[in-house]
């Protein structure tokens, strides 16, 4: 099982720029989703008149399916400055790699619970770290895209854009840097020093 918890509303507000298109994924059966909280938050945003559109769907981690679902909504997406995604880490990554030029924001943190983790396509991976970093990394998961799961930037080992551990693998932080450059978000590299919290399971049960 996975649990997604909505990030604090204030945190999300600080990340939202201009108009917002929201994508709400109720996920697969293995995900417990904070439906009411998210709906209330989106209603709040809509009341302020900054929402260009909202879709509520499932399985956005499947790129083909996601593309199909977004097809008729591209005008609203174009109109928005921020795409706010409420889903597990894989869903957000699928959206941010599909809408490559857009500012895609993760609305949730994803935690692991014991049991079956569900089936997701292989392109993106989420370790359910409970402190989703996607808003600091241009929507590319630093824990699964970097061989050392670094969260404060690239190590000194990348050569020609490839990871020191595997020359067939693109360096995750090289990808993150290029993506941030592309979406004009290099400023997030000035964020405070990040520390992992390996006790997030305590927080879920809290």
């Amino acid at each position: 099982m996975l649990i997604t918890e909505m990030k604090v509303g204030e945190t999300l507000r600080s990340l939202i720029q201009g108009k917002v298109f929201t994508i709400i994924c109720h996920g697969c059966r293995e995900v417990r989703f904070p439906e009411q909280e998210v709906n209330a938050f989106v209603r709040e945003l809509a009341a302020e008149g900054i929402v260009t559109g909202t879709i509520t769907t499932d399985y956005i981690c499947n790129p083909d399916f996601l593309q199909m679902r977004l097809k008729g909504r591209m005008a609203e997406i174009e109109d928005a400055d921020t795409i706010l995604v409420f889903s597990c880490g894989v869903g957000v990554q699928t959206v941010s790699s599909y809408l490559e030029d857009k500012r895609v924001i993760a609305g949730c943190d994803t935690y692991a619970l014991p049991g079956y983790q569900g089936v997701t396509p292989l392109e993106h991976d989420c370790d359910q770290c409970g402190q989703c970093y996607l808003n600091l990394t241009g929507g590319i998961c630093p824990l699964t895209a970097c061989s050392k799961s670094l969260i404060n930037g690239q190590c000194g080992g990348a050569k020609n854009g490839k990871c020191e551990v595997d020359s067939n693998m693109d360096c995750g932080w090289e990808r993150i840097y290029r993506r941030l450059e592309k979406i004009g978000r290099l400023d997030v590299l000035k964020c405070p020093v990040q520390l992992r919290n390996y006790a997030t399971d305590d927080e879920v049960s809290r």
Binding site: K148, G156, G157, E174, L195
Partner: protein, 292 residues
């Protein structure tokens, strides 16, 4: 003595580095350092470099210190979590080691115990932050330290000749923000790139030591070009090494090249860091030729 004091006095700081042995006898390392490196300011002691298991950096630092040298403790995040790293730092301070260099470290798969667990609980940036925290009298979790807080000269590395200078500068800025006092660079073989990098890095106001490797052979340079991040030996240098095999073998060509690089870059940096890789005996000649 913290090397930051020397930088503050405007001195040109020369450092070198040695690797602890895979064994319990450090005599050879200490002897070599005493014979060839006693004229320089401080000596880095590597931390299980390239993920190859060796004696720890701290005990080897103590051996050098007892022999009258100033050691710089290298600390990587590969083998220890935040508890072990902080504990090591307190121990180092107690033993009078006050110069450190904070690194993320190579992945365990690169070394001689590829099946080992890679830790990376912290990384170079969060390790610098941790040290700063200890210096302020509390640990990373915010618990107060008992008695006097430690004080270190906190170093880190940058790679000025890497493919993406902008990404390097961004990482450098993060390190400065986290509390880095000085930088040592990856080996430089392209002075133009280094100078350009330094123009941009000036904004951070932190001393930078030029990294130097004495090129030993064409084979070594080709290996670095293919495998070492941020290092590129240009073709004309390879030609120079190829030209006179005997001279190259004797180390004369390599020393000439390295001295030239130092001379060219000296006006733009605050020191040099020499990675002799077994050619410690050539260091005095190199410094003389470079006019340091």
């Amino acid at each position: 003595m913290r090397i930051t004091e020397l930088f503050d006095n405007g001195e040109f700081v020369v450092t070198a580095e040695v690797g602890p042995p895979k064994g319990i006898c450090v005599d050879h390392v200490v002897e070599e350092a005493k014979s060839y490196l006693s004229g320089i300011t401080a000596v880095n002691v590597t931390d299980n470099q390239s993920s190859v298991m060796r004696m720890g950096s701290l005990p080897a630092c103590i051996a050098l210190k007892n022999a009258g040298l100033t050691p710089i403790l290298q600390l990587t995040c590969r083998d220890r979590n935040r508890i072990a790293l902080q504990s090591e730092l307190l121990g180092a301070a107690m033993l009078g080691i006050d110069n450190i260099l904070c690194l993320t470290g190579d992945h365990t798969k690169m070394g001689d115990h590829p099946g080992a667990k890679p830790v990376f609980d912290l990384d170079s940036v969060s390790l610098l932050h941790t040290v700063k925290q200890l210096e302020s009298g509390v640990d990373l979790a915010g618990n107060p330290l008992v008695g006097e807080a430690p004080k270190f000269a906190k170093g880190a590395v940058v790679s000025p000749c890497s493919d993406s200078i902008d990404a390097q500068l961004a990482k450098m800025e993060r390190k400065v923000m986290a509390g880095c006092d000085y930088f040592q660079t990856q080996a430089v073989f392209e002075p133009e790139k280094f100078i350009k990098f330094m123009e941009a890095a000036k904004q951070f106001g932190k001393p930078v030591q030029l990294g130097v490797i004495i090129p030993k052979s064409v084979g070594m340079c080709k290996f670095m070009n293919n495998n070492v991040a941020g290092v590129h030996v240009p073709d004309d240098m390879l030609e120079e090494l190829r030209a006179d095999k005997e001279k190259t073998k004797a180390g004369i060509t390599g020393v000439e090249i390295a001295a030239r690089i130092i001379k060219e870059c000296k006006p733009y940096c605050q020191g040099v860091h020499i990675m002799a890789l077994g050619w410690e005996s050539k260091v005095p000649a190199l410094l003389e030729k470079a006019g340091i």
